[in-house]
Amino acid sequence: MNSDEKGGRLKGKDIPSTGVGSDVKSASVTKLQRFFGERPLSAVEMAPRILRYQSRRDFLVFGAGALAGLAGAGFLLPQETLSRIGIHRNMNSPKKEWFLNKALRIDDDVAEALYSVNRRVPTYTKWQITPLKNNYNGSTPDPRYISGWKLTLDGLASGLSISLDIRSLLIRFSVQEQITRLVCVEGWSAIAWWAGLRFDDLLRAYPPMSQAKWARVESSVNLDASGNPDPYFMSLDLATARHPQTLLATHFNGQPLTVDHGAPLRLLVPVKLGLKNVKAITRITYVAEEPRDYWAERGYSRYDGI
């Protein structure tokens, strides 16, 4: 074979130089070429009866596999897709939801395993800032809510319910600036310049009850597409809330937040998808069990770590 020829030629060249090293080298080159060289397929004589039996078995096994694949596709594909290819029977089943959610949970567990409180997300310069659109789910709220706005904290270690206005938040806490990327579940992203207080500082100032592992972050001012109240609520694990780049943002591009971007206070959690970055937060409740999540109830993931 080709490789053997080459090996032979190399050996021939090496003969005049009597150095031991080169001999060793050529031997190892030959060995390498032997190892990587293609080997002839060995021909075997088979009795036709055995061959027929094995072929039949393999065709049956792979045929059964193909049927199972088709059944699996019918089971997993969305009803809309199935009816488009002419299957109008209702194939929706609770098992399908259970199975897809199971797969989603595995992915969430992977995301949780990847998370580290010490791993910072990349930051950018002001030259790299890109436009950020108003992606309010539904209509943008009427800005009149801003004048009476208060942030309420529940589930605290003190057992009290605390209300804070934006002035007292800004006086009490130091403001951190960061230019980070916000990534939407839809696939687009934007690099934006934010400033706000660290969620970790708020957690230190108003510690949650000892058994709390989650925060329920909600906005009561959100509206649906036709302008009716549609409160937005989201679950956030406290490990992520304590990340040094998780902000309760008050400023965007050096200016106080506008109503488009969730004035006067929004969550900015760059290690999560944009849908966790609740605008116009009105209440944070610390709880022991994972709270409900607006988008998880609509088929999206719950952890959403990126």
Partner: protein
């Protein structure tokens, strides 16, 4: 199944039926290679269909909003063009959705498409490991390694394919170039680049799935947005691979297709040529 058990079977069968002549076969594909090959069909189909549904939510190819419709998506433009120019589609209900209705699970189902995409993606990674195990256990990886002679041999194969239709029309004999290897240079290029594309798809997929925790991986591909473009175009590698792959398998005859199911082939000439040379 290893050769020794085959030889045993053969020995037993010749003992019981000594008058029946044997058939010479070569073991071409390891069982795990065959298994992962066929599993790839539904998995890749699921990945592509759900992937295009995900693409719908935020197309990477956009233009300024159309003054009349507000459309920004180039794929929607193609659908509109198709509905306007293909006979029988003039009354299609939603031309901008034509592409997504025919080449994906459908528009407006991001949550479901994402769940299916993750499911298929994990299966795709597991299947890739099964394939790698099959290549290692069956020794098939050696036939996939590119070699320097491929550059010239690929040109010979190109010449063969280009001349083939003309030779057929002129009723002239047109000989297939001879190779004493399992695959010819073009096949080898295709069969070795698709696993590489698979690895890149997985890597770019992780880069856009976890762009913060794996931001160094995203940086390898030029950042988050560039990794999305990579991921999109890698999909086309599978499509442009599969079309000639399927056509040529059927053109080549039943032995090639059968060997991917049963593992053996009756084409022993090449193996003998190689065996004689050694």
């Amino acid at each position: 199944m290893s050769n020794s058990t085959l030889a045993d079977c053969e020995a037993k069968s010749t003992n019981t039926l000594p008058e029946q002549p044997g058939v010479l076969v070569v073991r071409k594909h390891h069982f795990l290679v065959r298994l992962s090959h066929w599993l790839n069909v539904p998995i890749l189909l699921g990945l592509i269909l759900s992937g295009i549904s995900i693409y719908w939510a935020s197309p990477i190819y956009q233009h300024k909003p159309d003054p009349n419709t507000g459309n920004v998506d180039v794929a929607a433009d193609i659908g509109i063009w198709i509905c306007a120019h293909v006979p029988g589609l003039h009354h299609y209900s939603s031309p901008p959705d034509w592409i997504y209705n025919h080449m994906s699970l459908g528009p407006g189902m991001l949550a479901l498409a994402l769940r299916l995409h993750w499911l298929c993606a994990y299966l795709f990674m597991l299947n890739g490991m099964v394939y790698a195990a099959g290549l290692l256990m069956g020794g098939g990886w050696r036939s996939l390694l590119p070699r320097w002679s491929d550059l010239l041999d690929a040109l010979r194969m190109f010449r063969y394919y280009l001349g083939f239709p003309f030779a057929k029309l002129a009723r002239r004999q047109w000989l297939h170039p001879l190779f004493n290897t399992k695959y010819n240079a073009l096949q080898r290029a295709a069969y070795s680049s698709v696993p590489v594309a698979g690895l890149l798809s997985v890597a770019t997929g992780w880069a856009i799935h976890k762009p913060m925790q794996l931001h160094r991986l995203a940086a390898v591909f030029g950042g988050y947005n560039a990794a999305r473009v990579w991921h999109f175009w890698l999909m086309w590698i599978y499509i442009q691979f599969v079309v000639p792959h399927v056509i040529l398998v059927f053109a080549d005859g039943s032995d090639t297709l059968r060997s991917m199911i049963v593992g053996w082939s009756t084409r022993v000439e090449r193996s003998e040529v190689v065996a004689n040379e050694q």
